[in-house]
Each structure stands twice: as C-alpha cells, then as structure tokens.
C-alpha cells in the first residue's frame, strides 16, 4: 500500500530553541528604533528636580560603566561556549558509546543538566565549588566569581550540545556506517572521518542558537554579585541616588544592549540554516 504521510514533521525545524523563522534585518532596526523612542518617552516622564541631572543624563554618564560590565557578559559567554562545546561533543559521543558503562553516566549527566534551571546550577556552582582548587602540580588555581559563573553557564549548554551532537550523529543514515565498516574502518575512524564531518553542518544552527541563549543567561551572574552589565547597572542606580525614574531607562538600555547583540546572531543563524536547508 502506498502510504501518504502528510503529517510527518521535522521536529527539529519546529524546536522551540531554533531561531524565529520570520526574521529580517530591517525589523531589528525598527525595534531598535522603538527602544530608543521609549527611552525618550521615559525621559519626558521623569520629572527631575532642578538640581538633579535628568534620568537620561545619568544613564549616559554611567553608560561606560555598564558597557564595561557588558564586556564581562561577552567574555563569560565566549568562554562558557568554548567549554560547553568541547565537553558537549565528548559527552554526546559517549552517549552513543557501545559500552553501557560509558553511556549511562553520559546520559544521566546530559539529562540532569538539561532539566535543571540555569539559576539553580548557578547557585550550586557558586556556593559549593571552592574558590581555590589545588592543581596536580601543587599550585593553586584561583576561581574567581565570574570564572565560576562561566563554568556554571557552560554546564547546561554542554548538556544541550551533547544532545545536538547525539541527534546529528543519529541522523546520519545507517548506510554511511555500514559502507565505512565494509571498507574496514574501525568505529573510531568512522566517527572521526565519516560521521562527524557530516554532522557539523547540521549542528551549527542549533549550536549558534544555544550561544544566543547562553549570552542571554549571563546576566543571572549579577544575582551572585558578579559585576556584569546588569549588576553594574544596579550599582550605578544606587550610586546615582536610587531615584525611581532611573529604573525604566536603565533597564530599557540593558534590554537594548542585549537585543543589539543577540538579534544579529539570530538573523545570521537563520541565514545559515536556510543555506544548509537548500544545499541538502
């Protein structure tokens, strides 16, 4: 019987974590414009006392300080992504290992970190990991707060990279494994030369998407006292007298800052995804 399967869907294409499908550059600019307009509106709203500077003036004064914090957000996101990628690839391959002894822990680690809130992982690492660890050579490695936060952020991303890698490997047709096997490739050689190179393309869009999610998670570090953009913005508001009219412009500015960074990444991710979709 010829089966018509109109309802087969590509779960990955629908995955909530993939970037928006209808994404365009000019929309981003438009949204940026709306941001700026609301900043101006917030300015008009604050009835500043004559001797105090206006909210916008205060924001501009503190902007370098906030941007300095944002650099830390970026640094944390880069480092965490690097760690997550390396560990995640290893973990993803372990998940497919023939040995139960390797597969089971890999599966548990992956799912534990995938299913725990980032904030909880952050708390665990920040409060339970010591500030100094002794290296084998007898030297001490100092783990400052932001480094610990970086490690904490890398864990959930690692687990998700692990799943991406596993999914990509599984999606390679069996025939590839078999023909490599019949050409006398060992399992490791097959993975190294045949399977992984084919996975890269499939994995890049979700990988980039996870980077965006990671970058957007870094402000959580402020809760534990790391001085990144949000923490700095809050300290700045306190230093500027904790005036209530500061709240809207400052938080709006933070939103804008992240939007201006993340949105282009989303567009780019989407473009790459489209390109690969056409190629295959």
């Amino acid at each position: 019987m010829k089966t018509v399967r109109p309802f087969r869907i590509d779960a990955e294409a629908l995955s909530s974590f993939l970037p928006s499908r209808a994404i365009r550059g000019w929309q981003g600019l438009l949204l940026l414009g709306i941001f700026l307009a609301s900043l101006a509106a917030a300015q008009a709203q604050g009835v500043a006392a004559p001797q105090t500077p206006s909210a916008i003036a205060t924001l501009i004064e503190w902007m370098p300080f906030i941007l300095k914090g944002f650099v830390l957000n970026l640094v944390m996101s880069f480092l965490a992504m690097g760690i997550a990628t390396v560990l995640g690839i290893a973990l993803g391959m372990l998940q497919l290992s023939h040995s139960r002894l390797l597969r089971a822990p890999a599966w548990i680690i992956t799912h534990l970190f995938r299913n725990s809130p980032w904030l909880v992982i952050l708390f665990v690492v920040m409060l339970l990991v010591p500030f100094e660890v002794e290296l084998p050579g007898g030297r001490n490695l100092i783990l400052s707060d932001w480094i610990k936060a970086t490690i904490a952020f890398s864990l959930p991303v690692m687990a998700n990279v692990s799943e991406i890698v596993r999914g990509a490997i599984v999606s390679i047709p069996r025939g590839q494994w078999e023909s490599a096997e019949s050409l006398a490739f060992t399992r490791g050689q097959t993975l190294r030369w045949i399977i992984l190179p084919q996975c890269v393309k499939r994995a890049i869009p979700p990988w980039m998407n996870w980077y965006a999610l990671l970058a957007m998670a870094t402000p959580m570090a402020s809760i534990l006292g790391v001085r990144e953009a949000v923490g700095n913005a809050q300290a700045a508001m306190e230093a500027a007298g904790a005036r209530p009219e500061l709240l809207v412009p400052f938080y709006l500015f933070l939103l804008l800052l992240f939007f201006a960074y993340i949105y282009p990444i989303s567009i780019w991710t989407r473009a790459i995804e489209r390109k690969y979709a056409v190629e295959t």
Binding site: F65, F131, M237, R243, L247
Partner: protein
Amino acid sequence: APAEAADGRLQEILDRGTVRVGVLGAFKPWSFPSTDGTQEGIEIDLAKSVADTLGVNLEPVVVTSANRMQFLQQGKIDVIIGGMYDTAERRKIIGIIEPAYWTSGPTLMAKEGAIASWEDIKDKPVCAKQGANYNKQVQREYGPRLVAFTGNTEGKAALRAGKCVAWLYDDASIMADLASGEWDGYEMPVSVLFNNPWASAVPIEELDKPWGVFMTGMAYRWQAEGTLLELEKKWEVKPSDWLAEQHKRLEWDESYLDGQ
C-alpha cells in the same frame, strides 16, 4: 597555600604587594561605584588607610552580604570591611576585629504616616535585603510578609513603587538616604530593634596572628585618631553619637606630652 606560611597572611600581603579588601559594592555612602567603575565611600577610605599603612596597593573586592564570609574563609579576600554586624554566631566562623568601626540596627523606612510602630507591619508586605541576619527575627517577631531582594536598589525601588509598606534595613543606611534629599516624604518611624556594631573581620585563624593584630591596631586608630569622625563629615552622614562616644573613650589622653 596561604595559611601554611609561617608568618601568616600579613607576610603574604606584603609579598604580594596588594591587600584584598571585601567591600559591599552598592551601599552608599560606605562603598559604591563611581562612574569610572572604581569604588569609593567610607569603607573604601578605611581600606585605603590599611593599604597605605602597609605600603601596599589596595584591591577592593566587591562582595555581597550572602557571600562575604565564604570569601574570607576561602582566602579570596584578606579582610572584610563591608557593613557586617558583629554577632556571636559569626565569631565562631570568622575573626571579628575589635573595636568596631560603625554601628547600626535594623529599622524601617516608610512613607510619612504609614507606620507608627513595629507592630504595624504585621501581615503587610515589607521589603528587605536578602541575607540580612535580622530578617528571620523580624519575621518571627512581627509577622510581616517579607519580600527580600538581592540588592538595596531593588528593595528601595520596590518601596517607592508602593510594592511594600516599608523598607527594613540598617538605620545608618536609611539615615544616609534620608539625608541625601532623594527621599522627601519618607521617614524612619520606628526606633532601631537593636544596635549592632559593624566590625571588620579577618580569617579566624589569623585573629591572633600578625594580620589580626595589625587590623586590631588599625581599628583602634580609626576610633582613637578620629578618622571615623572625619569620614562622617566627608561623606555627609548624620553624626552618630556612638562614634563620638567611642572616640572619646578610646582617645589616648596625650595632654601630658605638652608638659614635657
């Protein structure tokens, strides 16, 4: 490891050429950032005097009320000068330096006329700071609905937005706020629950070693030499009777020197 060095932390600091002082990051006017990102405030000035006396550089490390003791235990900072109460419990874990350099107690800030006594906050939302050690006590004794925030800024913003009746915090800080002119129409309607000195602290094992002894000397001088009274003036904090009293008590009567 630092603890192993025979001369202890003090030697380590001198070798390092930097003293790491834990300060609260957003606690005006004791310690708060300036627009260039560096810290300033009363506690920073105190920290500077420590560094200057030792002839080393100062590295202020921003801590929070929730993590400052861990940081000290872990060796991440050499000393806390960060608005910390001297309590019996804390003395078990860290080396509290005597004498204290400031004092304050939990009180409330509220819109004028909203609150008359501590009993008034029962079942009402009261903003607080996460990790403050009197939260539990106030909660148990007066039964407010405590809404604790991670930072002072948020807590006070919440009060201003009417999300709570009062802001439960140290009177010293509240007085500073009221004096700043940003809080017209607000008041401190109740007396402090208790008065608790703020002490600096070193790791507990350092308390009787050179580093603890040195810090004790510094703390004594801040009081005796009137450093704290000067800082009070410099940072426009409402003069505190306790400081004046301490200064008088600890000041060495040097008048006999004049006679020689």
